[in-house]
Symmetry: C2
Subunit: 228 residues, 2 copies
């Protein structure tokens, strides 16, 4: 029998985050799950921003300031699908405040609330040594998440195609990440439906891996993020 697990999700209105919620609802309401009504799904939502339109039963939305998170109810697993674009953020500092600081703050708040497993959406090419700002921030985020003591940490590194809305907004240096730049350039040609399917695959792989609970750090990329 599957065990009910209380989840915390940040970034639930994004392309991947929405699919994480759907996957969690499906998992918690699957036949044979321990809890009759499914465990609650807690969502951290930036105060003042438009909330998810329709909320499924057992969903609890906490309107928060990510730079001053409140204490949270007990949770088992945290899923972080936070991310902005340089254009939306308006600069590197503001971008870092979301893609690094808010991610880390969420993970820390979840640890304090008892979470032992974490699933995070990063990006292909994440590397703390990268000369590309975007990839470096993602890499630093991954590195510092690993210091928080989760027993299970699953890092999804989807390609730009896979529901990742962040444009790079910075010319990749020669020979570095050409494929990323190419994918970004081709992106408008990719049907929206394909991106939605890709986002769903990423979310399902992430939720499946976290609920499976293999100890240690696990990086999912490429085929591991595609279904079938």
């Amino acid at each position: 029998m599957a065990v009910a697990r209380v989840a915390l999700v940040a970034g639930a209105t994004g392309l991947v985050g929405r699919e994480v919620i759907a996957a969690l609802l499906a998992a918690e309401n699957a036949p044979g799950t321990a809890s009759l009504d499914g465990a609650p799904i807690h969502i951290l939502h930036a105060a003042g921003r438009r909330a998810p339109a329709a909320l499924a039963r057992n969903v609890v939305v906490h309107a928060v300031d990510f730079s001053a998170l409140p204490s949270l109810p007990p949770v088992d697993d945290v899923y972080i699908a936070l991310g902005t674009t340089m254009a939306e953020a308006g600069g590197q500092n503001a971008f870092r405040a979301i893609d690094y600081s808010a991610v880390l703050a969420t993970a820390q708040a979840a640890r304090r609330a008892g979470a032992t497993r974490c699933g995070v959406v990063s990006a292909m090419g994440a590397d703390p040594q990268s000369r590309i700002f975007y990839s470096r921030i993602k890499g630093e985020m991954e590195r510092d998440l690993q210091a928080l003591g989760f027993s299970t940490l699953v890092i999804a590194r989807p390609s730009v195609l896979a529901g990742n809305r962040q444009p790079l907004h910075q010319t990749p240096r020669r020979g570095e990440s050409l494929s990323l730049a190419l994918l970004q350039w081709l992106r408008p040609l990719i049907p929206a439906n394909y991106r939605a399917v890709a986002a769903r695959d990423v979310a399902h792989a992430l939720v499946h891996a976290v609920r499976h609970g293999t100890s240690g750090v696990q990086v999912l990329s490429g085929r591991a993020l595609q279904s079938g």
Copy 2:
């Protein structure tokens, strides 16, 4: 110094409910309030229905089935501004499920979560002996709320003008509640802005009375629901 109080609100998307939230946010963020960040405001929201658009910081939205409420976090005060219309509900049983059953279920769940004070939006003419279905349901609701053991129970009975959206959908019997029928008939002539101001006055009076915490049952109507 004002003491921070954790509130639970049901019916937060309605005309009066929205103003209850605004009044609570103002009270919790007033200078001199004990908690630096304000106490959380918990909202019970019918699962699947459109959520409040923008959520202020410290607001926590619980998507629930009112006929099977989950256990709730600790709360001090509960505000109930639930109500539907006969047209929306589609019949007397469905109407009663909201205006009586959901109200009582919310109050009971709040009591279990530690609430000792309750503020409820009823309606002018509420009377468990009334031959008017609408007034009778409101009267039964008021009567049964009083049996739940709140130390403070504040019942607001606004007129139909005061932000109350429920049409009667039933011809009042001769000599009974003629003024109610008249108000209902005149209602389309009343400017929407007046109704919004009236809803705000009702909400402020309710929140003020609950936070003041006079022991026993207090009924607010007429002038007590108007500011200035």
